[in-house]
Amino acid sequence: MSSYTSYKSLCAAIALGLSVSTLSFNAQANGEITDQVNHLKDHLGEYSEEVTWLNDKYDALVTRYETDGAKAVDTQKLLDYWEEVNFHSAIETQYIPLYATIWQNIYGIKTSIENGDDAQQVRQHQQALTQTFWQALGAVKLAAHYQDKGVIDKVKTTDTAPTTGPAVITDIEKRLDKVVAKYAEQLKEVATTMVHDTYMERFEGIEGALIEQDASLVEALEKDFNVTLPQAIENGKSVDEVRGIIDDMKQKLGKAQTLLEKAEQNRKDVF
């Protein structure tokens, strides 16, 4: 997403509420998310410094690999650097697709080093990571702007369930983005549990209404939730492959949302 067009898409996504701010964040795998994420503007300077620091750290580590080889590098540091910064929770709560890409690139560097790949290959992963960090900083700045204007919701600390079919679909899409992020973090069990919970706590509640509209669509999504996606995670498919399955599911969910909106309009009044 390096072009101006992609940047515009990102703006639109955040403005349209495609951030994850309506999801609940309690205890996460990477530690507690504090109320700081509801005051992004006050922390933008800190986030900029952290992104610079991160880029320097990853660059230095890859340079060490180039000059001294794998034995000179502690790949655990790649994860520690990222988990150390407050910027981590800022992007995790505001724009989860980029958060997932960050983890994907970090693991790209780690795996490449551990496999003893050519330094140039490792450098490519690191450059992609650098680019993603800057994009993520841009996304957080944009979110801070919208947050300041009061047009995006606060990050919730308690669970509030969506109450209409179309709202449930929006919530499912956000949860699936989070599945990619957790998978990119290599938290397979967390990702699998999230898929299961999303099915049981959200999709299962709307599929009765949806099946009246399009039985084959429900059938396809049932398979995605219960077979295709969990198996891809279980079998250790690449992050891009898992993301591809979820993108496909989101297309189907988009169709489902339209159908449910239409059904809601046609539904008779209670009284």
Binding site: T164, E212, D214, V270
Partner: protein, 345 residues
């Protein structure tokens, strides 16, 4: 007694459906379905704990009640039914009461609250609106659902599906089930209470030899329709909704007789605080309009006299649900132990 009285009431409902509209309306009024036009306005503060329900339709009902009663300040806390029941008990133990009402999607959670002595008694005139067999002193069923055997119509006829749930264990039919699903576990609890632990364990082991597991019961019905399995265990509305979206679906419903296989379970509501307001709120849920809405839109079975059953549900008079106090379904732990022992959980 429950089975007999239920039969009488569904027979009456069936006869009612055949009457001309004018007569039907007047009979309905006599039998207990009350229009919201005749209910008192709701005024004041009310907090409802709402178990997750039918994809937003309960929300539509609540919103309609709100709009009709602008002086009602209705606060809603939503969550999984069992979790809310635990919360209510925990709040009570801490000397706090935040909820005035609890609307649960299953009677097991209702039983937990009534057993803890937290539910207020209900006036007789409210309970009497309900079909005989569904009248309880401290909680009110709202709508019902019946356990069914969806079967693939390309492979079987209704007559080939056993009318005895216990016979499924020894049949040569391939079966779809969702053991982790709450409705299945309630059904199995009913079997344990009615048939005993030994017979239920044996049934579980027998069925598991030719059963395929699915995450949910809609998944079971769809698998039956695809022909992946011959027959399944599921609540009635999944099949009705599938057929609403796909009228030529290769699935139909069969029912067992007088056993857990045709258990009628219910969603229910109870009052946690005293006074007229919580009870009058419950009257809205039992009104002719809300009962008809949940029947036509959610395919739930109305439990108030004089309201039509959902379209597509076979002859109600032929149903023979077992004689069972639904609150006993709260006793889930021994059921889960049996399922673990049988290796299905």
């Amino acid at each position: 007694m429950l089975r007999r009285t239920f039969l009488q009431s569904v027979a009456a409902a069936g006869a009612l459906a055949m009457m001309p509209m004018g007569i039907r309306s007047s009979f309905a009024a006599q039998a207990g379905a009350v229009s919201v036009k005749d209910l008192p306005a709701l005024e004041g503060d009310l907090t409802l704990y709402l178990g997750r329900g039918e994809g937003g339709l309960y929300e539509k009902v609540l919103e309609a009640i709100r709009q009709r009663n602008p002086k009602l300040n209705l606060q809603i806390r939503r969550g999984a039914t069992a979790a809310l029941a635990n919360t209510i008990v925990a709040e009570s133990q801490a000397g706090v009461r935040r909820a005035d009402l609890f609307w649960a999607v299953d009677t097991g959670s209702i039983g937990m609250i009534t057993d803890a002595g937290l539910a207020q008694p209900l006036p007789d005139d409210l309970s009497e609106q309900l079909k005989p067999g569904f009248r309880y002193p401290r909680w009110s069923p709202v709508t019902g659902r019946i356990r069914t055997l969806p079967y693939n119509t390309q492979r079987l006829t209704a007559e080939q599906v056993p009318g005895d749930i216990m016979a499924l264990a020894d049949s040569d039919l391939s079966i779809g089930w969702a053991p982790a699903y709450a409705s299945f576990q309630s059904f199995l609890t009913a079997m344990r209470i009615l048939e005993g632990e030994k017979a239920t364990l044996s049934w579980l082991k027998g069925v598991s030899r030719h059963a395929k597991s699915y995450a949910g019961e809609l998944g079971v019905v769809m698998a039956v329709e695809r022909g992946e399995v011959d027959v399944g265990f599921a609540n009635h509305y999944y099949t009705l909704r599938l057929k609403a979206g796909k009228p030529d679906a290769n699935v139909d419903l069969a029912y067992t007789k007088s056993d857990a296989g045709c258990l009628v379970n219910a969603s229910g509501i109870l009052a946690l605080s005293e006074g007229d307001l919580p009870v009058n709120f419950m009257r809205y849920l039992l009104s002719a309009e809300v009962q008809a809405y949940l029947s036509s839109e959610a395919y739930e079975i109305p439990l108030v006299n004089g309201v039509k059953a959902p379209q597509g549900l076979p002859d109600l008079a032929s149903l023979t649900p077992p004689d069972l106090d639904l609150r006993k379904l709260a006793d889930l732990r021994p059921t889960l132990n049996l399922m673990r022992e049988a290796g299905v959980l």
